[in-house]
């Protein structure tokens, strides 16, 4: 039975940032029905960005990053229990404790978990960690407190680099092993990767690029690691920072378009079934969702960004309680930030959706700059280093499919305005030029408009 849009039973699976914000938004929009949140972790929703920063530095205890609840939710919380299945016909979520939760509408917000070390026996050694949950952060911070002789960080993406930064700030010896040519290359490409490498080394990181860890050694306790170049090191702690895995296994028999890349949904957060038919009662949002973005040629994006989790949660919640014509698309321009080695890095757009990059403001030498990314002659992303205040300008260029390279004229343009290859991995990207732009400043006024070819 479908209830009225503002009535009935809504179940949210996933009780983290996305789940909480969606629940708040549902109530804000006048949803008066029953609301249930299911979460695998026993604690109430908490914030993750501090885990790899303040928590590892010992400045904030792991249990103290709880998210503020901004309004009364009048919700049922089922925490500490995992969802194991979804019956889309009978409209029930199956839980690990055998219970079943019926729903009229469902929001899937199960997010991601840290990718484990591929060899279970090695991964089980005492001293091998991953960092995704509050609990993982607490245990790792305790071990860093104990003063290890050396920490090995496997993977130099944002999480790995932030962990290495925290370790150096604590004065610990750190080795970072990165398969690619430099840290952050997977997300930001070669130019900023080279800057990151220089900074890590200047901060005393033993950075090893172009190598993989072939074995973690130890007998019960981690003692060291071997690398693909034949070298080895002694280490008491290894942090596996090889990215995240989307929590979709519980949906394997649900008939939804759910797999390792996430739960595919439309721009209004409605999940597709396995035949590509949109559902009208099952929604997805946050890290687990995979959605088409018009600015990036309608490629299905899945974003592990704090801001995306919030924005998409709000769109999903709005659409769950509003009739079709009032529904909104999720058209947020992706954005994220990181702090590491004294740098504040902020990104708008999708830097990997690029073929060229230009330093539009500042300089690499001063480690204070804005790098602008372009794909086939249009601006698709901008990344600032210690220089976040003009990012809004570039966001507007991205939204309006402005030509790349951007016109010169910035007051602090120092380096050569000539673009260089962006060196993002695997540029197996699609065809045709800028056709779509975003308009409007308010969520309910945002539109895509077809741009005349420039």
């Amino acid at each position: 039975m479908h209830g009225e849009p503002r009535d009935g039973r809504i179940v949210i699976v996933g009780a983290s940032l996305t789940g909480l914000r969606a629940a708040e938004k549902l109530r804000e929009e006048g949803f008066t029905g029953s609301l249930t949140l299911v979460g695998e972790e026993p604690q109430p929703p908490y914030d993750r960005p501090p885990l790899s920063k303040q928590v590892l530095l010992g400045k904030v205890p792991a249990g103290h990053t709880g998210l503020p609840q901004r309004r009364e939710l009048d919700a049922q919380w089922k925490l500490g229990v995992r969802a194991t299945g979804l019956d889309p016909i009978e409209k029930r979520v199956l839980l690990a404790d055998g219970a079943e939760v019926p729903f009229d509408r469902l929001l899937i917000a199960t997010g991601t978990r840290a990718r484990r070390w591929p060899h279970p026996a090695e991964g089980a050694l005492d001293g091998v960690f991953t960092l995704r949950t509050s609990d993982e952060a607490r245990r790792l911070a305790e071990r860093l407190d104990a003063g290890p002789r050396r920490v090995l960080v496997i993977g130099a993406g944002f999480t790995g680099s932030e962990i290495a930064s925290a370790c150096r700030e604590r004065g610990l010896a750190v080795t970072v092993a990165e398969r690619g040519p430099a840290p952050l290359v997977g997300a930001l490409g070669g130019t900023l990767g080279a800057l990151a490498a220089k900074l890590q080394r200047a901060h005393g990181v033993d950075l090893r690029c172009g190598v993989t860890v072939t074995a973690l050694e130890g007998d019960g306790r981690l003692t060291g690691a071997q690398f693909s170049d034949g070298t080895r090191i002694d280490a008491d702690i290894a942090v596996v920072a090889l990215g995240a895995v989307r929590n979709t296994e519980w949906l394997v028999e649900s008939g939804l378009a759910a797999g390792p890349r996430g739960v595919t949904c439309d721009a209004g957060c409605r999940a597709f079934d396995m035949y590509g038919i949109v559902t009208d009662d099952i929604f997805a949002a946050g890290d687990v969702a995979r959605f088409p973005h018009p600015l990036f040629e309608y490629q299905l994006l899945s974003l592990e960004h704090w801001g995306n989790a919030v924005a998409q949660a709000e769109v999903a919640a709005h659409n769950m309680v509003n009739p079709g014509p009032r529904r909104r698309p999720h058209l947020t321009v992706p954005a994220f930030w990181s702090s590491q080695f004294g740098l504040n890095i902020k990104s708008v757009g999708v830097p990997t959706f690029s073929d060229q990059v230009v330093i539009a403001q500042g300089s690499l030498k001063d480690a204070r700059l804005v790098a602008v990314y372009g794909y086939r002659g249009r601006v698709t992303a901008a990344v600032s280093v210690n220089q976040a205040r003009s990012l809004e300008y570039y966001q507007r260029l991205i939204e309006t499919a402005a030509p790349f390279p951007p016109a010169p004229g910035a007051a602090d343009q120092i380096e050569s305005p000539d673009p260089v290859p962006s060196d993002v991995p695997d540029p197996k990207l699609l065809s045709h030029g800028p056709t779509v732009a975003l308009t409007g400043h308010l969520p309910d006024r945002r539109l895509t408009v077809v741009q005349p070819a420039r």
């Binding site: 403001q361 003009s390 809004e392 004229g409 007051a411």
Partner: protein
């Protein structure tokens, strides 16, 4: 007689008490070219975009037509408010080091007790007076005392630098109907005198450092470089003026607004915890800095379909953007409980107000204390007489009678 341009009417003193109808007219144009070749922008989203546009300079020297302000200023470099990155960033960062995060994150909050004591002393001086002038008796002496303590300037010298400060503020007033040369010469002279005075104080602090900003400028650590003596002068002139010419208007505009909305005044008096949000609404509704008159595009920039040419004077009308109905619901209504309140009162972008945390704290403490102190306040004169400046707008006097 030729009709006045919009900007002439905005700067005309006759409209000082209520410029908001003119701002509504400005927003209809979105971008309004004036006869003298300057451009006014008064809509929220356009102002916001220009404040974040790296092609918009704050350095008057980038204007195509030479700006007389600089000519009189021989010997003193522009303060960071009139410079672009990377020079702006270097100077602002060095100045910020002894004021805010990351080096001194607790400095402003730690002044809570001191500001409260100054407020208490000022109010104690008003005991028994039936009629007070909010400006002279309270809103002016408070920020002056605070900025003097923070910078390390003897409060006894207030009459001297008040004169200089008046001349400097008069110098920045745009008045398209009048030849600015004489005012600007006087402003330059005052700025130089004030700079020498502050440079001299800083020099004394180098020998005998104390817990103030001048000491930090003169004798602080130099891990990230340090300010030269000339930069210390330019920076401290800016901080001394900005530190007291703006907050006085925030407090006074705030009190006037509350007196005009007795129901809101009563509500805030009964719940002082609402004051931080009310101050944000005041910064939207009656911002002390009404416009940024010194921007200049470094390239031809298109704004709302109009191309503003490189080198043209560009004036951003913050107070107009704050009342833009495309951005704020029912913008002419003063609503201290407003939730959607991302105002332009402190500007935005790289030049966003350095002293914002201090201004907020002073205004919150001051207004709460005034509401508690004044029972049944009455406004004998509305509108009150205004200060001359259309840039830093606020009443010259605000008389209040109590029952």
């Amino acid at each position: 007689m030729a009709a006045d341009t919009l900007f002439q009417r905005i700067t005309d003193y006759a409209h000082r008490a209520d410029p908001y109808p003119l701002f509504a007219e400005l927003r209809e144009h979105r971008v309004a070219r004036q006869e003298d070749g300057s451009y006014l922008v008064g809509t929220y989203h356009e102002i916001e975009a220009l404040l974040h546009d790296p092609r918009v300079s704050s350095d008057r020297r980038n204007r195509t037509a030479p700006d007389e302000t600089e000519a009189g200023d021989a010997g003193l470099p522009p303060a960071f408010i009139g410079l672009d990155d990377p020079e702006h960033h270097r100077l602002r960062n060095l100045a910020m080091r002894s004021f805010g995060p990351p080096h001194t994150p607790g400095r402003i909050n730690a002044m809570h007790g001191e500001i409260s004591r100054i407020v208490k002393d000022l109010l104690a001086g008003l005991e028994g007076k039936k009629r007070i002038d909010i400006v002279d008796d309270f809103a002016y002496p408070l920020p002056v005392t605070v900025i003097c303590r923070l910078l390390g300037v003897p409060i006894e010298d207030e009459p001297r630098f008040r004169q200089w400060s008046d001349a400097i503020v008069t110098g920045i007033d745009p008045n398209p109907k009048e030849d600015p040369a004489e005012r600007q010469r006087a402003a330059a002279e005052a700025r130089k005198t004030m700079a020498l005075y502050l440079g001299d104080l800083a020099e004394k602090r180098r020998e005998h450092p104390s817990d103030d900003m001048l000491s930090a400028f003169a004798a602080g650590d130099d891990t990230d470089g340090r300010l030269t003596p000339l930069e210390i002068m330019a920076t401290s002139v800016l901080l001394l003026i900005a530190g007291h010419e703006t907050t006085v208007n925030l407090i006074t505009n705030g009190m006037l607004t509350l007196l005009r909305h007795p129901d809101q005044l009563a509500r805030l008096r009964s719940d002082p915890t609402l004051m931080p949000r009310a101050v944000e609404e005041l910064l939207r509704y009656e911002p002390p800095v009404q416009m940024l008159p010194q921007r200049t595009p470094l390239a031809d920039i298109e704004v709302a379909g109009v191309t503003i040419p490189k080198g043209a004077p560009l004036i951003l009308m913050l107070a107009s953007g704050n009342r833009d109905p495309e951005r704020f619901h029912d913008p002419d209504r003063f609503d201290p409980l407003r939730e959607d309140i991302q105002h332009l009162g402190f500007g935005s972008g790289i030049h966003s107000c350095f002293g914002a945390p201090l201004a907020r704290l002073e205004a919150q403490i001051a207004l709460n204390a005034l509401l508690q102190h004044l029972d049944t306040p009455r406004l004998p004169e509305d509108p009150p007489p205004y200060r001359r400046s259309p840039v830093l707008r606020g009443p010259r006097h605000l008389l209040v009678e109590r029952g």
